[in-house]
């Protein structure tokens, strides 16, 4: 069977399976918690005069939540589940003893995870932006800014999913390593002088954001952001490289289906 057809068949089956999975709905619910908080916060600050509170809330609540927490964690959970779930449930054998290339299986499954993440993240971002900026969203400037956020979220989702799909094919317990990467490496690197920040996905994601956060927190900038086009290309390239490497590993590696994994 042709590779694209195999990928489509795998994608179709696992997307249906994911939509029936309680976990997907739980994750979707989690993405909307900050939106709820934003709504409450807007209601509380409704009478407050002075600087526009909506954009502040969006930049300090929705953006950090989505870009530094939700997208990486969704990537970690989804990416590591591509192979991890099959090994945990010992179902991998059903896919690897059929006449389809292992790369088709992995790409199909990774595609489902990326699609689910995008399907949750993009509407959540859109809603947050609408709540934060109100009617500004209808202006051309507002739309352009929203587009940049959506682009950044989309590319970040692809890159993180790709990275953790690769980690999931390489390691038996990829989640803790992934957490160390997200909350350890990506955070610590911000304090390291030089261009070490180029070795993180978050640097390129941050470079795509139209609003530069000041002060402390995950979105602090120690290094000049990369140009937007450069950052976008790097993220796309990283996603592709991670996925290609993952398919290589998955095709050549044997998975012993008898031990529980984390």
């Amino acid at each position: 069977m042709a590779l694209p057809t195999s990928i489509a068949v795998v994608f179709g089956f696992f997307s249906r399976l994911s939509l029936r999975n309680r976990r997907t709905w739980l994750l979707m619910g989690a993405a909307f918690i900050p939106i709820l908080v934003l709504l409450v916060a807007r209601a509380v600050t409704a009478g407050r005069t002075g600087s526009a509170i909506g954009p502040v809330l969006f930049h300090q609540m929705a953006v950090p939540f989505l870009f530094t927490l939700y997208i990486p964690l969704m990537g970690l959970l989804g990416g590591s589940s591509c192979v991890g779930d099959e090994i945990d449930q010992r179902t991998l054998v059903f896919l690897t003893t059929r006449p389809v290339k292992k790369s088709a299986v992995l790409v199909g499954k990774a595609g489902v995870q990326a699609a689910i993440s995008l399907g949750i993240v993009l509407p959540a971002l859109l809603l947050s932006f609408a709540i934060g900026f109100g009617s500004f969203i209808l202006s051309s400037e507002g739309l352009a800014r929203l587009g940049k956020y959506l682009l950044a979220a989309g590319l970040a989702t692809l890159a993180y999913t790709g990275l953790f799909v690769l980690l999931g094919t390489l390691m038996k317990k990829p989640v803790i390593a992934g957490i160390v990467y997200i909350f350890g490496w990506e955070y610590v690197v911000q304090f390291i002088p030089g261009s070490t920040q180029h070795l993180t996905i978050s640097h390129y994601v941050k470079s795509l954001l139209p609003y530069k956060a000041a002060g402390e927190g995950f979105l602090m900038f120690q290094l000049e952001p990369s140009p937007v086009l450069h950052a976008a290309m790097v993220l796309l390239l990283l996603s592709a490289v991670f996925l290609v490497l993952a398919t290589r590993v998955f095709s050549q590696k044997e998975y012993v289906l008898s031990e529980p994994r984390v």
Partner: protein
């Protein structure tokens, strides 16, 4: 005729644990029973044969082709794994349709193939039900149907009758025999000798990762019959029974257990022993509480063969 499966000095270990060691085997079309106690290496061998594992040493070929990372081969091979594993939230029908689509079938053809395969294992009525709602035996039958779905040339079945009720054991056994009668090859593993006997007379005995014996089941049976057997007879007048066997040259040892009121015989001819026992019981109208053969199992045969080796 070209061999279906060829294994050459095949070895596989997991860290320090030996899976299979230096197995060389050639299998021709027909049903082949892979027999061995738990942990003998049957599953490892079948995982190597189905391309799930890479050999550490040696090689394995099916239809002359290497198995690992050779997806095209699975158009001709069907595999039923031992694990009770399934996708939650999917029905048996949808699951089989998906597998059929992986074989290149169109949506409609996949549905038809799924329906036929489910019919063969008696699951057509529950095709729309979630697999998680199936009983263990039904899930086992579903796995068998997934293996035969695409009408493969070679069927590899790892403990296919585990958890299946007696009626369906017979039907699946018939299914396997019928499958092989059409010139196909089946490799089926089990640790239960009668299960294999019902399917084939060609067996491969595997023990501690090595092939212990290979060939016709009658020869193995012969070994089973000629090795000393232990028979324990529990009866109120157990000494009178023992008395009758003292002069029998097929009885090698006699041991008494006063507390449990039983006598344990060691015989080198089981059939002869039981014929005599029946006769004595009838002649003397003896009351018997229990007759057991503590070592009449596959493990005993293995122990005997290992001992002889």
């Amino acid at each position: 005729m070209a061999p279906v499966l060829e294994a050459e000095s095949l070895s596989k270990w997991y860290g320090n644990i030996l899976g299979v060691s230096d197995i060389s085997l050639v299998l021709m079309p027909g049903v082949h029973g892979l027999l061995g106690p738990n942990g003998a290496g049957k599953t490892t061998f079948l995982r190597l044969a189905s391309g799930q594992l890479k050999p550490n040493r040696g090689r394995i070929r099916i239809f002359g082709e290497p198995v690992f990372n050779n997806p095209g081969l699975f158009q001709r091979v069907g595999f039923c794994p031992e694990n009770d594993a399934y996708y939650r939230g999917v029905s048996g029908g949808d699951y089989l349709s998906f597998l059929a689509r992986l074989h290149g079938a169109s949506t409609q053809k996949a549905r038809n193939l799924a329906r036929t395969a489910l019919h063969q294992v008696g699951l057509e009525e529950v095709a729309g039900k979630a697999i998680s709602a199936y009983s263990l035996g039904m899930r086992q039958r579903l796995k068998v149907s997934a293996a035969i779905l695409h009408d493969p040339q070679l069927l590899i079945l790892d403990e296919p009758l585990k958890g299946v009720d007696p009626l369906w054991r017979v039907r699946i056994t018939d299914l396997i025999r019928d499958f092989a009668s059409r010139g196909r090859t089946v490799i089926v593993s089990s640790h239960v000798l009668p299960e294999i006997e019902a399917m084939t007379n060609r067996i491969v005995l595997i023990h501690q990762g090595q092939i212990l014996a290979e060939g016709d089941i009658q020869e193995i049976r012969g070994l089973l019959d000629s090795h000393p057997h232990m028979v324990s007879v529990c009866a109120p007048h157990f000494r009178r029974i023992a008395e009758r066997f003292v002069g029998d040259h097929h009885v090698l040892t006699i041991r008494f257990d006063n507390v449990r009121q039983k006598v344990v015989f060691n015989t080198d001819n089981r059939d002869h022993f039981f014929a005599c026992l029946n006769r004595f019981v009838v002649e003397e109208n003896l009351e018997i509480e229990e007759i057991t053969s503590p070592d009449d199992n596959l493990q005993a045969v293995f122990n005997y063969l290992v001992g002889r080796k």
